[in-house]
C-alpha cells in the first residue's frame, strides 16, 4: 500500500509538468495581446514594447516556459498582469472561499441525495419514487445560473431570509453559502440520489438482507445498518472525484453569487488575458484533481478490503 501511495505521488510530477506545458501552450495560442488589454487605448507602441520586455513577453516560447517552470519550482507563480499582486497570495486568499462553497455543496448533495435515494429505494414503485426520479432528472437538467437567480429572488429578495450574494467578509458565515451551495450541489444531489437508489435496490435484494430480516431485525436497522453501509461504496468513490469537479466548476455559481473564490479569479483573468493568474489557477485545480483522485483510490482500498494495489 505504501509503495502504491509513493508511486502515485511520483506520478503527479509528470502530470503536473504536462499540465503546466499544456496551459502554457494553450494560452500562447489564444488570440489577443495581454499588453493591449492591460494598457488600453492610449499606450504608444514604445510603451507597449517596454511593457512586453518587462513582462518577458518578447522572449521565445521555450525561454518563457522554462522560466515559468523554474519559478514554479521556487514556489513563485508570478504576478498578475492586471492587479499586480502575487498569484500565490491571490490563490491563498481565494481558496478558502471556493473550498467552503464546495464543502457546503457536497454536504448538501450527499445528505439530500443519499436520503432521497434510500427513501425511493425502500418505497420502490410508489408515488414518492416516481416523484424523486423526476426530481433527480430535473436536478441534472436545470442550468445552475437559472436556479441561482430563482433562489436569489425567492430567498433573498422576497422572503429576505438569506443573503442574495457575497461571502460576508472575513471568516466562514454559513448563511452566505446556503444558496450558492444548494445551486452548486443540486446536480450532484441528483446523481447521489440515483447512485444510492440503484445501490440500495441491488443490496436490498441480497441474501444477507433477507437473513437479517428473518432474524427479526427492525426495518430501519436492516436498511440503514446492513443495506446502506454496502450501498455507499459507489457513493464514496464518486464523492472523491465529485469534490474535485465541483471545486473546478464553481465559476458560474461564484459569478452569480459574487463569491470571490478561484472561479471568479479565473474568469476575470481569462477575460483580461492575465496569463500568470490563468496558469496558476489551472495548475492548482489540476493538482487538486490529481490529489483527490489519489485519495479516492486509497479510500476505496480501505473501504473494500478485497481491493489491493500492490
Amino acid at each position: 500500500m505504501i509503495r502504491f501511495i509513493i508511486w502515485r505521488i511520483l506520478q503527479c510530477v509528470p502530470v503536473g509538468l504536462g499540465i503546466s506545458m499544456l496551459t502554457f501552450l494553450m494560452l500562447s495560442l489564444v488570440p489577443g495581446d495581454p499588453v493591449t488589454l492591460m494598457l488600453g487605448q492610449h499606450a504608444s507602441p514604445q510603451i507597449m514594447n517596454n511593457v512586453r520586455q518587462e513582462l518577458g513577453l518578447d522572449l521565445p516560447f521555450f525561454s518563457r516556459y522554462l522560466q515559468y517552470v523554474w519559478n514554479i519550482l521556487h514556489g513563485d507563480l508570478g504576478r498578475s498582469y492586471i492587479q499586480h499582486q502575487e498569484v500565490t497570495t491571490m490563490l491563498l486568499d481565494k481558496i478558502p472561499i471556493t473550498f467552503n462553497l464546495t464543502l457546503v455543496a457536497m454536504t448538501f448533495a450527499i445528505t439530500a441525495g443519499v436520503l432521497i435515494g434510500v427513501l425511493s429505494a425502500v418505497k420502490q414503485g410508489s408515488p414518492w419514487d416516481t416523484f424523486t426520479t423526476g426530481f433527480t432528472l430535473l436536478g441534472i437538467s436545470v442550468p445552475s445560473f437559472w436556479l441561482g437567480m430563482i433562489l436569489q429572488l425567492i430567498f433573498g429578495v422576497i422572503l429576505r431570509i438569506l443573503p442574495v450574494s457575497g461571502s460576508g467578509g472575513e471568516g466562514f458565515q454559513l448563511q452566505y453559502y446556503i444558496l450558492p451551495g444548494f445551486t452548486l450541489g443540486f446536480a450532484s444531489m441528483a446523481i447521489y440520489a440515483g447512485l444510492t437508489r440503484s445501490g440500495m435496490l441491488d443490496v436490498l435484494g441480497q441474501d444477507y438482507i433477507r437473513t437479517a430480516r428473518a432474524k427479526g431485525l427492525s426495518k430501519p436497522v436492516v436498511v440503514l445498518k446492513h443495506g446502506l453501509k454496502n450501498a455507499l461504496i459507489p457513493v464514496t468513490t464518486h464523492a472523491g472525484m465529485d469534490f474535485a469537479s465541483l471545486m473546478g466548476g464553481t465559476v458560474l455559481t461564484e459569478m452569480i453569487f459574487s463569491l470571490p473564490g478561484i472561479g471568479t479569479m479565473l474568469i476575470n483573468a481569462v477575460s483580461r488575458r492575465d496569463y500568470p493568474v490563468v496558469q496558476g489557477v489551472t495548475l492548482f485545480l489540476a493538482l487538486v484533481f490529481v490529489l483527490v483522485n489519489l485519495l479516492a483510490d486509497i479510500l476505496y482500498a480501505v473501504l473494500d478490503p478485497r481491493i489491493r494495489y500492490d
Binding site: P31, G32, D33, P34, T36, L37, L39, G40, Q41, H42, A43, S44, P45, I47, N50, V51, E54, R79, I82, Q83, H84, Q85, T89, M90, D93, K94, P127, F131, M149, Q152, L153, I154, G156, V157, I158, L159, R160, P163, V164, S165, G166, S167, G169, M255, I256, F257, S258, P260, T264, M265, I267, N268, R272, R273
Partner: protein, 547 residues
C-alpha cells in the same frame, strides 16, 4: 392508492401556485416600500453602498484606464483642478487659482495652504512635482503619461534620460510653475483626469509593487481626496471613509462601500433586497421594465462617448471612394436601430462628437437614411445596385448588443445591394487588427478622457494617431492645421468655432458613420439624495447624502 396520488398532486399544485403568488406579491411589496424622498436638508452620516459591476484593475493613478478605477481614485486623490459635476467647467481644487504668462506658455498655480494628505501632513508644491515625475518616468510604464506631454522636459524623463521634468518648478512651498512647450489651451482641462491627481509618493514607494493593488493598506495608499482608503477585499468590496480634515466641501456620508459584482442581475437583486443604495448598470434586457417599475429612482446620463462604423481608408473599396462611404451612410437607418435593437439606450449621433461635449456642432449635415440616395451614391461609386462590389467585412468586438446591431446593419445594407460579412472578434485581437489596418469596416467606440473637443478629435482623426487611435487612417491637412489652431487658441468662443469647423470637414470627408452615444441607466435607492453624475460618468460622492 388513488387517494395518495391525489394528495401529492394537490400538495405540489399548492406549492407551485404559492410560490408564484409569493414572488409576484413580494416583488411589488419590495418596490412599493421604496418611499418618495421627503427631506431636503442634507444629513451627515450613513454608509453609501455602491453596486459596482466588475472590479477596478488598480487604484494606481498611473494606470487608470477603466471607469471603475477612475471612479474610486477620484474620491481618494484630488488634482489641481476638478470638473463641475453639472457643467463640467473647470473649478479650483488643490490649486486655488492660476495665472498665465504673457506668451501663455507658463502657468503659475497657487496651491492651497490647507490641503492635507490622509496621514495629516500638509501638501506642498514639491509633492505635485514628485508625483508627476513618477508618472512621466520610463520605468513607470504608464499609458497615461501623455497627459504631461505638453510640459517642457517631459520627453527626457519619459525616455529615461532624466529623472525630473525641467518644465516643473516651485517658487515657494505653495507655488508651482509649469512651462509648456507651446501655447496649449487643453492642458489645464486635462489636469482634471485622476491620473494626474496627487497622492503621497513616499507611502507609494513603501508599498512598492503592492501600491494600488488589493494588498494596499491605509498607510500606503494616502491621497488628498474627500475620502480615505480603508480596505480592498479583492473581488468583494472596496471601503473608503470620510476624511474629516479635507480642505474642501466635506462629504456627507461617513463611508462608501463599493460592492463588486460580476453580474448585473445579482447587483439588481441586491438592490431589490434593500442591500444597495445605488447600482451602476441595469441587467441586460430589463431596461424598459425597470424604467416602468421605478421611474423616479432612475438617472439617465449621456456620456462623452462616440461610437461609429469606421472605414479603413487605406483599403478597397473605401480608399479614394467617398461615394461608397456615403452610400453605406444613406442605407443605414440608425434611428430605428437605436429605438428597437438598443431599446432607446442610446442617442443617435450626427457627427464625431457626442452632444454633451463642449464645442459640439448641432448643425452638421451628415447623410441620413435615404435608400434612394444610397442607390445613387452606389452607382456613382461604380457599383450600380451593388454589382461588382464584393462582400465587405464588418468587424466588431463580441457582445450580444454589438452582435444584434451588426445583424441589423447587415439586413439594412442588403436592401440596397451591399453584402457584408460579420466578423466578431475577441477584444485584444480586434484592437490589434484595427491598429494594423487589417480590417475593412469595423465598430469603434471611444470614451473621452476629459471634456474638451480636442481630446476625441485629435485622438481619432489626426494623422499623428495613425495606427493607434486613428484606425480609419484618416488625414486632412486642413483638419490638422485647425487642430493646431484650436490647441493654441485661448479665447473660448473662437476655439469652439474652430472645433465646429473641424467637425464639418470630417463629416464632409465621411471616414466613418457616426452611430450612437450610450445613455447609461443608473438606479438609486429612495434614501439617496443629491446624487450627481457628469457626462464623464463620474459620480460626485461629496454631494450625496442619505436620509
Amino acid at each position: 392508492m388513488f387517494e395518495g396520488k391525489k394528495k401529492w398532486v394537490i400538495t405540489i399544485a399548492v406549492l407551485l401556485i404559492g410560490t408564484i403568488i409569493l414572488s409576484g406579491c413580494g416583488l411589488n411589496t419590495a418596490l412599493k416600500k421604496q418611499e418618495k424622498m421627503t427631506r431636503l436638508t442634507p444629513v451627515d452620516g450613513g454608509v453609501f453602498r455602491f453596486g459596482m459591476i466588475s472590479s477596478p484593475s488598480a487604484l494606481e493613478p498611473a494606470f487608470l484606464e477603466e471607469i471603475n478605477g477612475i471612479e474610486i481614485c477620484k474620491e481618494l486623490n484630488d488634482g489641481l483642478i476638478r470638473y463641475d459635476p453639472n457643467t463640467l467647467e473647470i473649478k479650483p481644487a488643490i490649486a486655488e487659482s492660476w495665472d498665465y504668462s504673457e506668451d501663455k506658455k507658463v502657468i503659475t498655480f497657487h496651491i492651497r495652504k490647507d490641503v492635507k494628505f490622509h496621514d495629516g501632513t500638509i501638501l506642498k508644491a514639491q509633492d505635485i512635482i514628485d508625483v508627476w515625475n513618477r508618472l512621466a518616468a520610463k520605468d513607470t510604464l504608464s499609458p497615461l503619461a501623455f497627459l504631461l506631454e505638453p510640459i517642457v522636459g517631459f520627453a527626457q524623463v519619459n525616455s529615461g534620460e532624466l529623472e525630473t521634468i525641467s518644465g516643473l518648478k516651485t517658487t515657494d512651498d505653495y507655488t508651482l510653475e509649469v512651462t509648456l512647450k507651446e501655447k496649449n489651451a487643453v492642458f489645464l482641462t486635462s489636469l482634471g483626469h485622476p491620473a494626474v491627481s496627487i497622492y503621497k509618493l513616499e507611502a507609494a514607494k513603501k508599498a512598492g509593487k503592492d501600491f494600488g493593488t488589493p494588498a494596499a493598506r491605509p498607510e500606503t495608499l494616502i491621497g488628498t481626496g474627500a475620502f480615505k482608503f480603508v480596505k480592498w477585499n479583492a473581488d468583494q468590496d472596496i471601503i473608503l471613509e470620510k476624511f474629516p480634515d479635507y480642505y474642501g466641501t466635506k462629504a456627507h456620508v461617513d463611508k462608501i462601500i463599493y460592492k463588486i459584482f460580476k453580474d448585473e442581475s445579482t447587483a439588481f437583486n441586491e438592490f431589490r433586497a434593500g442591500n444597495l443604495d445605488y447600482v451602476d448598470m441595469v441587467p441586460p434586457g430589463q431596461r424598459q421594465s425597470i424604467l416602468k417599475e421605478i421611474p423616479d429612482q432612475i438617472l439617465e446620463t449621456t456620456t462623452l462617448t462616440t461610437q461609429y462604423i469606421g472605414f479603413n481608408l487605406t483599403k478597397d473599396p473605401f480608399k479614394d471612394n467617398i461615394n461608397i462611404r456615403k452610400a453605406i451612410a444613406c442605407a443605414l437607418d440608425i434611428q430605428s436601430i437605436a429605438d428597437t435593437v438598443l431599446e432607446g439606450s442610446s442617442t443617435v449621433s450626427n457627427g464625431p462628437l457626442p452632444d454633451t461635449m463642449p464645442g459640439y456642432n448641432i448643425d452638421l449635415k451628415a447623410p441620413t437614411f435615404d435608400k434612394k440616395k444610397a442607390k445613387e451614391y452606389l452607382a456613382l461609386a461604380g457599383y450600380p445596385d451593388g454589382q461588382g462590389l464584393g462582400p465587405i467585412q464588418y468587424a466588431y468586438n463580441y457582445t450580444q448588443e454589438n452582435q444584434r446591431v451588426a445583424e441589423a446593419f447587415q439586413a439594412q445594407l442588403k436592401e440596397v445591394g451591399i453584402q457584408i460579412h460579420l466578423k466578431n472578434m475577441e477584444w485584444g485581437s480586434y484592437i490589434n487588427a484595427m491598429q494594423s489596418g487589417e480590417l475593412q469596416m469595423f465598430r469603434v467606440a471611444c470614451v473621452a478622457d476629459y471634456p474638451d473637443p480636442d481630446n476625441l478629435l485629435r485622438m481619432l482623426y489626426s494623422k499623428s494617431q495613425w495606427g493607434m487611435n486613428n484606425v480609419t487612417f484618416y488625414s486632412n491637412p486642413e483638419v490638422e492645421g485647425l487642430l493646431t489652431q484650436g490647441l493654441e487658441e485661448t479665447d473660448i468662443t473662437k476655439r469652439m468655432e474652430i472645433y465646429k469647423k473641424i467637425q464639418e470637414l470630417i463629416v464632409e470627408d465621411q471616414p466613418a458613420i457616426w452611430t450612437f452615444s450610450t445613455n447609461y441607466l443608473r438606479i438609486y435607492g429612495d434614501k439617496v439624495h443629491n446624487l450627481k453624475i457628469n457626462a464623464l460618468d463620474q459620480k460626485d460622492m461629496r454631494s450625496v447624502w442619505l436620509s
